[in-house]
């Protein structure tokens, strides 16, 4: 299953996102982004199945959690 990662502003937002997604039945994992995903240094995000990308974006938007970057599978933040 292809994994997507949404980069978030902080670990606080990552935990908040994880809980909001869980409440909506979407499992995700909090990840510390590696250097291939961020050129600005330490950052956190949530990783989830790419199939749920649309729902994830919608839920995080509703929760006012800003996605600062997005990785579709591997590679740098989009």
């Amino acid at each position: 299953m292809k994994q997507c990662t949404a980069a978030l502003g902080s670990l606080t937002y990552a935990i908040k996102a994880q809980r909001a997604l869980a409440e909506n039945g979407i499992a995700c994992e909090i990840v510390k982004l590696d250097s291939s995903m961020t050129r600005r240094g330490c950052a956190y995000g949530v990783a989830f199945s790419c199939e749920e990308q649309r729902a994830v974006r919608s839920i995080l938007s509703k929760e006012k959690i800003t996605i600062t970057g997005f990785v579709n599978g591997g590679g740098e933040l989009l």
Partner: protein, 385 residues
Amino acid sequence: MMLPPSVYLDNAATTFPKPLSVLAEVNGCIRRYCGNPGRGSHPLAMASAERIFECRSAIASFLGLDAPESVAFTLNTTYALNLLIKGILRRGDHVLISDLEHNSVLRPIWKLAAEGLIEYDVFPSGCGQPNASPSRICAGIAKRLRPNTRLVLCTHASNVCSYSLPIAEIGAFCHRHGILFAVDAAQSAGHLPIDMKNMHIDALAAPGHKGLYGIQGAGLLALSPDLTLHTLIEGGNGLLSLESGMPDTSPERYESGTLPTPAIAGLLRGIETVSRIGIDKISDHERNLFDYAKERLAPMRGITVHAPSHRGAVLLFSAEGIPSEKIAGELGKRGICVRGGYHCSALGHATLKTPPDGAVRISFGIFNTNADVDRLIDALGDILP
């Protein structure tokens, strides 16, 4: 070191003892999961971060805020107030503070004013004024407003007596006039109801180790979502480490350096304890103790209770001809823990017109009973002529 059995009546300084759930959580944190939150991604770092998030959420809910990220942890209330004052005020601003403020408000404001950066005025809190009312207090604020008044900052409840300011009315007044409103909740968090949204509070500083029954080491600054402050200190916060500037994401923006995870984890259990008992019940308990202490002190010769009509967790008294520190010291020798002097509030003591050497403060918590007051009175009977 084992101390002899004592009666602890200095809860306004820090509550003691702490609930067992707080002690268990602090102990469990240190023993089981105390990694550095927001630094790594390993299980212990994440476990600490999760607990801190839970505490942020609990505080936000306790204060009537929606978002956990509105709560920044600080070392204590004084740090939170300094962060607020120095992070929000700019050259040329005017500030209003009440005549009951603790030095944690007065001193940073005074320093900025002494440096010529800001100006400030003191408004009457209404304490000790028989005809005080929310509208009169707001009128006192209105009289002192200037075109450059940016902030009204006041204590919710005094630390030298049980008077509390009508912060909901003051907040509404400030917002009607386009002025920011901030509250020092050092003596009210856990004692009186607080709802930042409904009370129009833009920023609120509170301790973890007083009425919320956490341990010393964690305070907090809660901010309304649209308020961003300049930082007081800068450094590592686990975010965007390759950049020299501080990230603007709250609350980490205000939390450079390692957080006191054990203290924050304990605070979570403290808040749960306070919520389970209920603010109204705690407040009633403290008022009953106040009434009982006032009643027992009344027949004692030479004793004056200051601001006796304001019932609550703090009772201030003086004894004619005996310095307050002498009384506190003698009580201490008898195992009674109270505090004499000025309680870091020159403004408050001046407003209450206490004797030149200050006064003795007794302050109640959830674990106190009338028997503690009886022991205090017995000991005072030994000390007074």
